[in-house]
Symmetry: D2
């Protein structure tokens, strides 16, 4: 059977997902299922030609048209956050499998509505938290599950870039609270919160602060106030007893695409940086530690392109870049579609992240600790 794909939105993320679809038949052998790029729903006329060049059979300005088609079984949701709730709920009701860019929604209430629908739907729903799907982060998860870290003492994690430092950068949908639902927390924070929760388990409580460094920005109709966060820092207590710090910023001068974590536990430590993505740094207390003659120290585990079979391309010793996580994330989703297994990160995971984000804003507003 061939699965038809309908793409909701064809901005940056729509193109990224499309590239992932086009890469999978070559990267994986066998591919999990056969895909046909059917249609793109886009409100922007200038993207129509690009979508066709990328292999789609048609484009439409009416996203419901994609849901109505019987030859589309899979919907990718790559629209701004304010459109997620309606599109996702309807796509679920239309019986589609869905792969959704993060965050799940603008608010906890919206996310709950989506998940309520999903619990009724019988198809596969997965979040594009693609940083779970780099060889190094997959390996980190595996090692934590195997007990490598032991009892987690504390961690620090962040996701930083510097894209908004320039005060002349104009307003855009990500800066418009009505459209985005929030600032850096929803944009980058959702990723690092998902990754921490994925690796270390549920949050018990948190205490956060947010900052907006540039209070207004130019728009075609003059200066407009910025109502979303440029920076967020969260103190976290995990249910496991561990504790730590999460930061996210679009004002981290000098950072490119800087997702990092460091975890310190009773048996070992792990460290990762997205700008050095080919390695997972792992420290084991089990290594011998004589005063003179030990071999204890961080090990730069060669993750490179080491995916489990049936990854074929590129070879295991070659370097990964940012796109690689997206390709494997979508591959993972298609595998669940093909074999009926449970998705992870599911929409339930998307909801859990949304809850943490909502609690983060509550804490920052109330300047107090908040239970998750």
């Amino acid at each position: 059977m061939e699965y038809g794909v309908g793409m909701l939105g064809y901005g940056f993320m729509g193109k990224v997902h499309t590239l992932a679809y086009r890469s999978i038949p070559i990267y994986y052998d066998p591919a999990p299922l056969k895909v046909r790029l059917v249609g793109v729903a886009t409100a922007h006329r200038d993207t129509v030609e690009k979508a066709v060049a990328a292999g789609y059979e048609f484009t439409t300005t009416d996203w419901r048209e994609l849901l109505a088609r019987e030859d589309i079984q899979i919907i990718n949701c790559c629209t701004p956050n304010n459109l997620h709730r309606e599109m996702l709920v309807e796509a679920i009701r239309a019986g589609k499998h869905i792969y959704c860019d993060k965050p799940l929604a603008r608010t906890l209430a919206e996310a709950e509505e989506i998940v309520a629908a999903a619990r009724q739907g019988g198809k596969k729903y997965q979040m594009a938290f693609q940083y779970r799907f780099l060889p190094a982060t997959l390996r980190a998860k595996q090692m934590i599950q195997e007990g490598f870290v032991g009892q987690v003492f504390h961690f620090r994690a962040c996701y930083l870039h510097a894209g908004y430092v320039d005060p002349k950068r104009p307003m855009s949908w990500r800066l418009d609270k009505e459209v985005s639902g929030g600032g850096v927390l929803l944009d980058l924070g959702s990723h690092i919160i998902d990754l921490v929760r994925h690796l270390l388990g549920e949050f018990a409580e948190l205490c956060a602060m947010t900052e907006t460094f540039i209070k207004e920005r130019p728009s075609p109709t003059g200066m407009k106030p910025v109502e979303v966060d440029d920076y967020v820092a969260i103190q976290v207590k995990l249910r496991s007893g561990g504790t730590g710090i999460i930061e996210s910023s679009r004002f981290a001068t000098g950072s490119q695409d800087d997702l990092r974590f460091e975890i310190h536990g009773s048996k070992g430590a792990l460290r990762f940086s997205l700008m050095d993505p080919n390695w997972l740094y792992a420290y084991s207390m089990a290594d011998p530690d004589e005063p003179y003659g030990g071999t204890r120290g961080y090990r730069q585990i060669e993750c490179v392109q080491r995916y489990p079979k049936p990854s074929v391309l590129p070879g295991p010793k070659l370097s990964v870049g940012w796109m690689r996580g997206h390709i494997h994330s979508l591959y993972d989703f298609l595998t669940h579609v093909a074999d009926g297994s449970e998705t992870s990160p599911s929409f339930e995971d998307g909801l859990a992240v949304q809850r943490i984000m909502e609690r983060t804003y509550e804490s920052a507003r109330s300047r107090s600790w908040v239970a998750v």
Copy 2:
């Protein structure tokens, strides 16, 4: 006009080139030209299905069939080295544009024959020396041309992996001199020699040593002698007066895909490593150097995905991996096909690298300095 592509060989490199073709319409806007994946010539029946899944219209076991077709204008040569001469000469005569995996041939004589044909052909011929096409190496070339390094004093460059350390790794075409024409020198050495020559100019003379650490390896018909080099080191004197060292090894325990260079000149220095590919490290003597208060030091220039327009995807701040160089290298070739401009690296460059490799073997054999 649509350009039809015929792929000679569908092993690892054939798949890599195919992935690059499939990625270009999304990575670049506009794409340099419209491509149609027409046919694959492969001797291996098990790759047929994969080629079709990747989008090719047909496969054949007769490579001449691709040359005969009028709807194929571009030939990608991804076969073992011993097939290059005949295929390339015939493809040139058939009036095809050609993108050829390195090295150009097994020997200098073969390479000269290919280039003699190419000088008669009127189409575009380009080598897949893709390490020229990472943002960091493109930037290095640009900076050297702008005079950043000044007079080159000396350099060190290497391309290392550890793929052949295991003595049980069996014989294969790369280890069979009849098929490959040589060992690590032709395999990895060709890349680093091209890059050094590209960045620093022509070689005047060289003095080399080669080693074969594992003298025989298993094959289906018993142990067979290994007649090719596992390791090569070359002392180089450049025509510019600079000097340096090139190394290549498939026995560099601990290395993954480790191409590095460091260049020290009168005005500055440059450093790059393929395992940390997002940055070019640059040191300028023009930076102030007071005993206390200067700012001199290596700068980690953020190359990341910073290609000149019209690169679209992924965004400029996202990390590159190994595939990215291949995609931009093929994009560059297609640009030359589309606009008629000169290719670089051309088959003449392939020939120049082949001459250096032949002189390297001569020097290692004669244990003496050899003019290039």
Copy 3:
């Protein structure tokens, strides 16, 4: 004139200060003043011989004996925290110059008493916050003062080691609240708080959490409860409007002596790590940032041994280690003693750090934001 030195305490820190005294006449030319190692007050009989081997003329078990001597002008205070208040107040009253290991005291009240005395004293009083005195941190201060960073958006800073991970590590004075006044916050936290305040200015308010991972530890008289913190995290709002995070831990598995900071501002960024102490990493928004052709990126400023004159030894290009900061810190103190200039970090700085630490404990106890 020759200055006599009296050393209060001859544990680890007493030896470090002594080594610094012995190094200064060779590292600096000219040395700021001539020093004579006169006496050591130590309660431990086994250190007496070591002190004499190190060049002291006598040892005593009565610390007041040092204060009474007219040939001792300088007192180094290297005793456990609970002894600071009395010793410092009396040394001030005895008219001695004082160089004091951090923290100034156990509590804010004790620190205030010491500083009240110091305000009456006419001599030089300096804290051993020696991390201010590495070439890289001196350079960071200088660059911030010159405006390199611009408006500070946010920062992260930490001081981590893993020395207490082993639950069998017994009780010691640092773990005994009565003696130490607190845990990792007073031990390591005082250093990083001083450094952040030194570089970025006064704290406006903070919100902290502390953890004690191992609740009891062995002692000669059986298991004893640990009442001090193993880990602390502090969210900070600076008076300047910047914000950030400070962490300190003795449970950071995998860390050796890991003091780090990263500062992101409107004009640039700075980064430092004590385990890579020879460089200050600096990012300038003033560097050109064309999409293709810029040179923006972190610069690894070569600090190495670059002290202002009259440092002589080791040469400016040689690597520093941990001891080097202590030597320059003490040199700086002796310079102030010699020329009568203001000390920095002064006891007032020690008091400011003590206030921040006290507020940190208050915040952790009350689980709320606290004004500093």
Copy 4:
């Protein structure tokens, strides 16, 4: 018994050795022997005062005066290379223990004369090849001896700085062949050759090239020709069958004090850099290497200050700098003086290095491979 020290020469290296003497009683407990700084022989009047400030009892312009004194048992030789032969031979004949800065002499003939005398002397003679005495290099030696690396395939090693890039840097004794005996090879090359030979064993043959980039330099009497090497590269075949490359340069723009080695063997690999001296990077083929789930990768072994007992100061987790190697090297020498054990690196080692250097010049001159 107390050992009196006589220092020949009080330039940079004389001060370094003096600092080491002054540090040992505090760094080590117990110190190997009791030392008294007796006298300095120096031709420069301006160093006299410095030597006295550093604790010496007297200075003289007549170096023989030191040899004649009965209260001097140890001679440190820190004079320019052209004075070594005579001073060392006479110091041996005077029955002194000797600690000699590298290289042993200007030429192989001189070195042989010195060693001939030493073979008659009954005292301890040791070279200051101090890079053997960092925790990371001590650990490398230990691991190689334990078989960690297995059969050595190939290595690269270098010692680089950029101190002579400026063409206005005037002539000095290191650039004067009559005084120094050679250029960068004797200055920096001697260290890295010693280290390679120490770690990997004897050299069988070599092929070298040298370059002098700045052919003349200013002197008080006008421009003078530079007759020594600025750069040297050596291809080496080891007696063990391994091979590799050694480079040394004073024209390595961007380098501070950059001694590095990388060793690739059948069982593992080792890597070290003097600008990151706290760690030894070690890769073991014995670590599990499943396609997915292995832990293979370079391990950053925490060497830091981990010396065998009885090192006391600084603590084992604190960072080392350049001075630390000197201190432990001299400590090692004093230990041999104290207990009568064999020195290493001995003058015989100094001779072996001198032979390799002489062969290097022969090879560069004759442009051919030369047996060692």
